[in-house]
């Protein structure tokens, strides 16, 4: 890997120059789909839990990729914690078996507050997970209701506390801001709440209306007011203020961490790293080849059962595509990208071709440059798409 990323330290040791190798595992089940969600997840498939776990384990065992010890593992969903800790442990064990896991690896699982208590956390820690990403979203009851969350604010805070009690050292709180129901005070209180609950990592995402979601329909038909980009830009600034005051540092557009607590798996994505992906609709990437699995849980399971590949599609990027992609990803990181490294990797002229545009954007104060490093100016964070697409 040649793409540099934000130097940071891991939970135990040093991981700096190499982003490593990641493993993503997708659990496509939910008790209840939230109104804003367009993720690959399904309600009412409880009967598939056991066969899905079996299929996942088999698929991991059969994986024919070049094994490389994982520096990060991420169980995402859906709601991974709908599965029993033993089931999740079996899958993690299969990963350990197949690719190996480095001793100081970051092993994250997404947790929905209403599905866990202290004993769950204890069991998950036991199974090998060492980082929990808790779906708090908001601490304002009317916002939670609007979003279609089924847990209370109290339950979310309780989940954070329970994880601590169980001995978890790495805790992320997932938050959503800028929803139509949120008042400025709601956002401040949500931030204060997760800071007080001692989360050491906060992911704060601007609510996005995705087509096909119930929320999108509600807005399109005028029953719920649209989200306001200006308000979201304000809220992002508020988040940065609160979190910075509490010792956090923003390392990516939507992610803040206490020193040394940046998510290694997250950084891996943005630095163009390699990762395997297992489970329905999971995405993977190795050296310019990106591929994804069968989207529907049933199709995924039956592919495994029939012994055929679970891969549903792929794309292979050549250097002329990888260069711009590395820019697109890397500029999301606060540290930015090392242009000379990109040029070394992706060909002569990569930089020269973009120089006039870069110059103009730097002149306009939208990009910053130091040495061969290029990054978004602080004020451009929320304009990343507009700026980045000029550089592709």
């Amino acid at each position: 890997m040649t793409v540099a990323f934000a130097p940071s330290s891991s939970r135990s040791g040093e991981w700096s120059a190499e982003p490593g190798f990641g493993v993503y595992v997708h659990i496509p089940f939910c008790r209840h789909r939230c109104h804003y969600c367009d993720f690959n997840t399904y309600e009412g498939l409880d009967a598939l839990f056991a066969p899905y776990v079996d299929a996942l384990v088999t698929d991991i065992e059969r994986w024919d990729g070049e094994p490389s010890p994982a520096t990060s593992v991420f169980f995402g969903g859906g709601t991974p914690t709908l599965l029993a800790p033993e089931q999740l442990g079996r899958v993690l064990a299969a990963v350990t078996e197949r690719t190996g896991i480095v001793p100081e690896a970051e092993i994250t699982i997404e947790v929905n507050p209403e599905t866990v208590d202290e004993t769950t956390f204890t069991a998950l820690l036991e199974a090998g997970f060492n980082r929990f990403s808790i779906g708090v979203q908001s601490l304002a009851p009317h916002v939670l209701e609007g979003l279609g969350r089924t847990h209370s604010a109290g339950r979310a805070l309780e989940a954070l506390a329970a994880a601590r009690r169980a001995g978890a050292s790495d805790l992320n709180a997932d938050l959503i801001y800028g929803s139509p129901w949120e008042r400025p005070g709601d956002w401040a209180r949500s931030l204060e709440g997760v800071i007080d609950a001692a989360a050491d990592h906060v992911s704060a995402y601007a609510l996005t209306l995705e087509e096909g979601t119930p929320l999108h329909t509600l807005v399109a038909t005028g029953r719920v007011p649209d989200v306001d980009g200006d308000v979201q830009a304000d809220r992002h600034a508020v988040a940065d203020g609160y979190l910075r005051a509490a010792g956090f540092e923003r390392y990516e557009t939507s992610n803040w961490a206490q020193p040394g607590r940046a998510s290694r798996h997250n950084v891996l994505y943005w630095s163009g790293g390699n990762y395997a992906g297992f489970g329905a609709g999971a995405h993977a990437h190795v050296d310019g080849r990106r591929w994804w699995s069968e989207r529907l849980p049933r199709d995924f399971i039956s592919a495994v059962e029939q012994g055929v590949t679970t891969e549903a599609g792929f794309e292979r990027l050549d250097d002329s595509q990888r260069g711009p992609e590395a820019l697109m990803l890397g500029l999301r990181l606060k540290s930015g990208v090392d242009l000379s490294a990109l040029e070394r990797s992706y060909g002569e002229g990569f930089l020269a071709e973009r120089e006039p545009v870069i110059e103009r954007l730097v002149g306009a104060g939208l990009l910053e440059r130091s040495g061969s490093w290029l990054r978004l100016a602080e004020q451009s964070t929320m304009l990343a798409n507009d700026i980045i697409c000029r550089l592709l």
Partner: protein
């Protein structure tokens, strides 16, 4: 045929008053077209005409009619174009006639344009036969409108023919009246040839087909001939008559009407109004009334896709082959790229050309706001013509600006008199005369700047009078006016496509309308974009598109980089398709929307 047995007539009528149906009936009753071959509106040739229900190009057809006196008469029916933009062509068609049929819908009465053409016919000394059509309709009011027509042309109401062109009722009597009342042609059979070109059309196979009437002498096939105005000398490859299909003839005699094919490939070399004579007689006096077609309305026409520019040029070249009035020259606009500044006879002409370009040549076009041609007297004493607002010099160099005026004729039910006057007054109109056609209907004459009616005047007139008023206008010379150019600036950069010349009193309204419109049409950018309207360096209106503050994807869900990349590539493609005005990115649709003229339009 001897002159005594010839009659040449035209029908003047408003759109939809039944001209084509009456022509069909005449063709049928004279046996020119067999009952089995009859199809509706036989004489209208182009699809576009049929769809719009109007006739753009005239045709002439010969009918042989056996009258009640037992004699055979040759009736030449000359079709006239039916719209305000083609007034000159109408006048040439009328010059080729000895009488006109004034055809009026018995349910609607006479309309403005018919009235204008009637005045033309009376001025030309033509015999006028008044006719009320559609008397079979339940809504027909023949008594009322017969009274109106009788008063107009000074005859008795009983002299007004009442017919139904659809059923044929009253048409045999009309044929008799044509023979009895229209005088035969008065030309000199032994004088050298002089023939009037009253129409000229381009045919892909035969080249230009000129329709003409032999005024003096005769024209023979294979004869060496000359067009006096254009100086073109050619051989008459074929002459013939339309009966109604083209039928070659060895010669056309004095008073006869027919066509001439001579290998000419462009209609501008065989223009309407020109005189055809024999080659050895080319110094003969031309027939009176010839005029160069003069474009009155100008607009920039641009391809939506810049790559289509060569296609647009080819298309205009082809259209010009059969449209002598269309003029164009290449121009470039920073906002719209490469296109053409085109000159048209009027708004309808512009619409027809644009529609044909889009339909026949499959082009997607943007047109700038139409403007008229101005004459500008500079402080240096020099006088220049300006067809494009961006060519207008700086106010400091201008002594006087002259703009074209028109005599406007509106015919309206008296209930709307006030409404019409208000509308005209609001457009800098100057009342000239009013004349009550009947207690219910009035004709109103205004003198107005052409620039005031080319926007949406006609639409406004129609909507404010519930469709009852009709409009006609004709050029009335140039007059000085207090005109200024209003520029629209994006981020201090003038956008040439939005510059316009308006009266000083209306500059503020135009500026405000455009800046407000653009504020809604221009997407937010990375910085504040001021939108200003200005006269010279003086800002008269300003709006601001605030900088956008959020344009970022929240997350990269589950490592799906492919989706994120596609999203950004689409966004990049979107940017590529935008026009760059200085540093401001403007979507193509903003130009189209901003240039659209509607009821809250730039001219109101």
């Amino acid at each position: 045929m001897d002159q005594e047995h010839q009659r040449a007539i035209a029908v003047i009528a408003h759109i939809d008053h039944g001209k084509s149906t009456l022509s069909d009936r005449l063709l049928q009753l004279t046996g020119t077209v067999g009952d089995r071959d009859m199809r509706a509106q036989y004489l209208d040739r182009m699809d576009l005409e049929r769809e719009r229900g109007i006739t753009i190009k005239a045709a002439a057809v010969r009918m042989n009619y056996k009258a009640n006196d037992g004699e055979i008469y040759q009736i030449n029916l000359i079709d006239t174009p039916g719209h305000v933009d083609f007034g000159y062509e109408v006048s040439r068609s009328l010059a080729a006639c000895d009488g006109v049929l004034l055809l009026v819908d018995a349910a609607q009465g006479i309309e403005a344009q018919t009235l204008t053409n009637l005045y033309l016919a009376v001025d030309a000394g033509l015999e006028v036969i008044p006719i009320l059509n559609k008397i079979d309709l339940p809504a027909a009011q023949p008594e009322k409108y017969a009274q109106e027509l009788a008063q107009l042309i000074g005859c008795g109401p009983e002299d007004v023919h009442q017919i139904s062109a659809k059923t044929g009722q009253g048409v045999p009597e009309l044929l008799e009246a044509i023979v009895e009342r229209v005088p035969p042609p008065k030309g000199e059979p032994d004088a050298p040839l002089r023939a009037l070109v009253f129409d000229s059309v381009y045919d892909a196979y035969r080249g230009v087909i000129a329709y003409l009437r032999v005024v003096d002498g005769r024209i023979k096939s294979r004869e060496e001939i000359a067009f006096i105005a254009t100086g073109v000398e050619v051989e008459a490859d074929e002459i013939g008559i339309m009966a109604p299909d083209p039928t070659p003839m060895p010669e056309l005699e004095t008073g006869e009407v027919g066509y001439l094919i001579s290998g000419i490939k462009e209609v501008r070399l065989a223009k309407v109004g020109d005189t055809v004579t024999t080659r050895n007689n080319r110094d003969a006096d031309p027939l009176p009334g010839y005029r160069e077609p003069k474009p009155m309305v100008f607009a920039g026409i641009y391809p939506v896709e810049g790559d289509d520019f060569p296609l647009l040029r080819d298309a205009l070249d082809k259209l010009q082959l059969n449209d002598a009035a269309l003029v164009y020259e290449p121009e470039s606009s920073t906002a719209l790229g490469f296109g053409f500044r085109c000159g048209f006879l009027g708004l309808l002409h512009m619409e027809i050309v644009r529609e044909r370009l889009e339909r026949e040549f499959d082009l997607s076009l943007i047109a700038t706001a139409p403007s008229v041609g101005y004459e500008i007297e500079l402080t240096s004493g020099q006088r220049i013509e300006v067809h494009n607002p961006t060519d207008m010099p700086d106010p400091s160099q201008i002594e006087d600006v002259y703009e074209p005026f028109v005599d406007v004729l509106v015919v309206t039910p008296t209930d709307y008199t006030g409404t019409v006057m208000q509308l005209c007054q609001g457009r800098r109109g100057d009342l000239q005369a009013m004349n009550y056609l009947s207690p219910e209907r009035v004709e109103i004459h205004y003198k107005m700047p052409l620039g005031e009616i080319i926007f949406d005047f006609f639409d406004q007139l129609k909507s404010k009078t519930k469709g009852y008023a009709s409009l006609d206008y004709e050029p009335a010379g140039m007059q000085p006016s207090k005109l200024v150019r209003v520029d629209v600036l994006l981020n201090a950069q003038p956008v040439d496509a939005f510059s316009t010349i308006v009266h000083r009193d209306k500059a503020y309204d135009y500026g405000k309308t455009m800046t407000e419109r653009l504020r809604k049409l221009i997407p937010r950018q990375l910085f504040d974009v001021p939108i200003q309207a200005a006269i010279g360096s003086r800002i008269i209106s300003r709006e601001t598109v605030k900088a956008k503050r959020k344009d970022v994807t929240a997350k990269c869900y589950g490592g799906d980089v492919t989706r994120k990349r596609k999203l950004l590539e689409r966004q990049k493609e979107g940017k590529r398709r935008m026009k760059q005005i200085g540093t401001v990115e403007v979507p193509q649709t903003a130009f189209i929307e901003a240039l659209r003229v509607d009821s809250d339009g730039a001219s109101s």
